[in-house]
Point group: C2
Chain length 317, copies 2
Amino acid sequence: MNEFELIHRYFDRPAQNAVLGVGDDAAIVRPTPGFDLFVSVDMLVEGRHFLAGVDAAALGHKTLAVNLSDMAAMGATPRWVVLSVALPHNDEAWVAGLADGFFALADRYKVGVIGGDTTRGPLTLSVTVFGEAPAGRALRRDAAEVGDDVWVSGALGLGAMALREKLNGDLILPADVFTAGIERLEKPVPRVELGQGLLGLAHAAIDVSDGWFADFGHILARSNKGAELWFDALPTHPWLAERRAVYPELIAAGGDDYELAFTAAVSNREQIVALGASLGVAVTRVGRVLAPEEGVTLVDVAGKPVKLKRAGYDHFA
Amino acid sequence: MNEFELIHRYFDRPAQNAVLGVGDDAAIVRPTPGFDLFVSVDMLVEGRHFLAGVDAAALGHKTLAVNLSDMAAMGATPRWVVLSVALPHNDEAWVAGLADGFFALADRYKVGVIGGDTTRGPLTLSVTVFGEAPAGRALRRDAAEVGDDVWVSGALGLGAMALREKLNGDLILPADVFTAGIERLEKPVPRVELGQGLLGLAHAAIDVSDGWFADFGHILARSNKGAELWFDALPTHPWLAERRAVYPELIAAGGDDYELAFTAAVSNREQIVALGASLGVAVTRVGRVLAPEEGVTLVDVAGKPVKLKRAGYDHFA
């Protein structure tokens, strides 16, 4: 089966939301009148963003999930996606698995898979996702305001905990904790509905992929704000919560969380809690936004500074 | 300079046509009311789509050019582009060169560079380009009609000729011919204005990237049509034209042409010739579209079949 047949067989499915899907020089879609278009791209490389030998379907899921997470962080509704893949071998079973995981998640969010490119090369995936939101509305990184609450969804550190155990084996996790971490690491659930619900409630948002402290720092940098951030309030798995002081980096800087970090006016607290409850997603207040001259501090419950050995994941480290 | 700094320094330029450019979870653009959105993705891998050691600026140009060529083939006006790059080393000079070549071409066509992702990995580029055209109008591959003229723009075979000389050195090309071929290979000029002009004049179109015979075959397959194709009419460089019978594959199946192959009603002949003349782009009639049961034949000027050892480039060959 050559390149064209491989693409045709596994990616040339009738696309949702499309005038013309895979199979021409370009796909054609019809944007919703009065809406802005949101575009995000991610490249994933074997050995860096995922381990060699990872299950193809899990990888297909995660590849799309991390991009849907970007749409969630903007408050946009994901609508379309294109995928390009460099494959070291013409491995039909692997492509089939990848497509299964990818399309299952796409179908769940009614995202049209409108384009694909496959070539031979070191295993690399690149995804571009498109979303829509009413024109002029978005959860931008540069929109945090002094006095805002700092929020984070779900729980932090599970993916990083599982990855460390898998690579180093030094945490000695109970089996159920390890399983929960692996599930988060390999099959993260993007907070799409939460992001949509926060449009109009939150000011700034970002998705937590490289580590919460570094990622939230992007909001502060682009908004030109300071913050007091409460380490002991950071939501995490009970196993990690008991060892909070031992592994602060796993929680605050681990990465692979795909939660939303956001800021919102104090007056919207109750609505945000109600939104989280209606979606079954925990939302936790973990700090407040300050003027830029007050700087950024991460403190424990006693108000003492917490030091992190590193702030987040550096793709070139 | 880490990943974020590298991206910021070379790709975080104020984007044309964008509400919000690089630097958030997603870029935001505002589609033109009443227009469809065209999306195309290409992945380029070192050693397969370009040679190791290629000049970074030339690569930046070509990476975008091949994608603009896809927009041209749809009759769409390119508007936005995102680029993801996996880099084996954190090589600032190389990234700067790549960005230079990429942005120079983007600026020429007023295409906004609205997103980028950079990571460490084997040298791989992935580009997603977006274009627009009035809703419901496009040059689709499935739109060829019986009786249509078959056209091709520019000249075929120059890039393949230069690549073969570079790799094998067996053509013994005069220096000026080699230079012309390398120019086409490394700095192809996408036929954007021609594609736009053909909207309403042509029926079906495709861009010639993998070899004209195979690429035009996609039009015939998707349109369910046959064709008589005239090998001796195929426009090429004078040096190759003199050796047409010796190197038929370089002309008809070489690839790296980035010309447009298209079909149009006979009644539009004069307008198409006038369009080409107004743009300074040769347009040549090279066959006619037949009913599917008449099959596809490639014939010489005497009407005898021309055999090609291969029809085009297979990315998994």
